[in-house]
């Protein structure tokens, strides 16, 4: 990755394992980012690893026959790699509690040029820990919940976002 692509002025915590237990996060902080140059090789590798052998991800003729502008990256490859900068920042993949995305735009992977995906992750919401509460007349009992943060991912390709509502909920305290 290059610093310019990541907007380093905003990326204050970028780097592996940089989320310490006493870190102070604020909504809007850019905490991680990366640039992923993907190629047709990446798609073949993902097909084998995941078992998704849909031919639109490696055959130009099949992609064209179903009206696509070219061979597409697997949406699940985009989803899978987009969370990696967050995991490197956390230092522990087990701190990812929830991860969701909408697939809003396809990523066409040129056979020669490939495609470059740019990922930026920023804090969208912080939820403090809550103690367990006994049942009341108005509400059932609730279990204690740990402090969490919602990290919002922006993934762009050729200047357009390719995922919508890409959100990672993380545990703020380590194991």
């Amino acid at each position: 990755m290059t610093a310019a692509e990541l907007n380093p002025a905003a990326a204050t915590n970028v780097g592996p394992g940089n989320l310490t237990d006493d870190a102070v996060l604020a909504v809007g902080d850019v905490v991680a980012g990366a640039v992923f140059p993907i190629t047709r090789d990446s798609l073949v590798r993902y097909a084998g690893a995941s078992g998704d052998f849909n031919a639109i991800h490696y055959r130009d003729d099949v992609a064209a026959a179903v009206g696509l502008p070219g061979v597409l990256a697997h949406g699940m490859l985009t989803m899978g790699l987009a969370v990696q900068p967050v995991i490197d920042w956390l230092g522990d993949p087990g701190r990812v509690l929830d991860y969701q995305v909408r697939f809003t735009r396809p990523v066409v992977v040129d056979p020669v040029e490939g495609a470059k995906l740019i990922v930026s992750a920023k804090v969208g919401k912080i939820t403090p820990e809550a103690d367990a509460a006994p049942a009341t007349a108005d509400a059932p009992a609730t279990a204690a919940t740990p402090a969490t943060a919602r990290i919002d991912l922006t993934v762009t390709y050729n200047g357009d976002t390719v995922l919508g509502k890409a959100q990672v909920v993380i545990a703020l305290a380590g194991r």
Partner: protein
Amino acid sequence: MNPELVGRVFDATTPYLVGREKVREFARAVFATNPVNLDVDAARAAGYADIVAPPSFAVVVQEQTLAQLLSEPDAGIDFSRVVHGEQRFSFTRPIVAGDLLTAVLTVASVKTLAGNSMVTALSDITDSDGRHVVTASSTLVVRGDA
């Protein structure tokens, strides 16, 4: 698509044994570089029994259940028209190499919007002790006739 699918619960899948080299292969494919995903000693130092799968690895187990849904005789889903709309993973704990995982799919909703059908399916993935590991949720869009 058949609206009566809503609420249908499918048979539990054949247990899937999470292999260490499969996790490494998947981790490399999604550009994971964290040692906890790749190195057994690093994973154990972090408190895990073995290397930890990337979050989206759960799709490999979920896929068995989506195949059940798509091949359900009365579902009326034309696979050639299916587009992946949304995906979500909600974890109780991460998947670790050595896990023996079973998945059960429930159809949460079927909707029709602007000529397209949308089905949301929840696949609850549990370990060999029957404890919840992760729920994988997919929304599939089935494009209508153009």
